[in-house]
Symmetry: C2
Subunit: 147 residues, 2 copies
Amino acid sequence: MRLSTRGRYGTRALLELALHQGEGPVLLRDIARKQEISLSYLEHLITPLIAAGLVASTRGPKGGVMLAKPAEEIRLNEIIYLLDGPIAPVECVNSKKACARSEKCAPRDIWQELRKAMNDILSSITLKDLASRQIAKEEFEGTMYYI
Amino acid sequence: MRLSTRGRYGTRALLELALHQGEGPVLLRDIARKQEISLSYLEHLITPLIAAGLVASTRGPKGGVMLAKPAEEIRLNEIIYLLDGPIAPVECVNSKKACARSEKCAPRDIWQELRKAMNDILSSITLKDLASRQIAKEEFEGTMYYI
DNA sequence: GTATTGTTGACCAACATAGTCTACAATAAT
DNA sequence: ATTATTGTAGACTATGTTGGTCAACAATAC
């Protein structure tokens, strides 16, 4: 029951963009460095996000990537879906056809509850929320030194 | 974000045992047939469940496997844990040491919420509950023919 | 003792994951 | 125009996980 690195790294990359929203293009290289993701791998992760219209890119000197829409309009479930596919513990919760026993399978009902719970959480959080949380964490870290 | 076949098949196998609780040993072969799992694979799945004391087995003719304790005392999170490992979307939610950035990582908080939600659901459901649901489903299916 | 059952461990094919590397395309600055 | 700088695309690969198979073995009811 694990989330792949794609979804996690992608979320972190977008968080980085959200933290620098309004500051113009951010270099992939800088995202890679700050979020500790290999640049080559990040390039692959960013592609579907660009294709989906979450991220805008400009090439050449002074280029880079930036959020293509406000951080409050991007929800985590969207990011995970784009990078990891359907947020579902098993295929059969998406299509009944995936398994002949779907109709009379009690376990399947449980897997569906799991999916709903996960989706509810992920769709309730926007990149803006995530960025706010991150900022709060860092500020709190800072105050720690004064205790 | 998927549940492996191990956890799912294992759950189904135990459901089958719960449905036949008190009827003596059930053949692995019969479980395999009814739940559509290959026998050889089921053998591997049942082993950790026996080791953990959820299932009791007897060899030889008239042998088979049965629940080692009442179905109300077996929770789904236990089954999934035994077969799939920790119910966690990422390792870092279990041990902070897994990642140096854990302390100041907002995404990690989200993954922890996910884990909690999943665990809450799975630990709230016992094998007994699952069996009751299954019976209800089959009875309902049965009535359908009279419409 | 023999047929029947579970137990164990070696093995394996296919796929997913998590990348690397190279060549290429666009563009800003000169 | 040239060049340096950026993202884009695709081929390639190493490793691990998944979902098994198969054969030998151990226990036990009859």
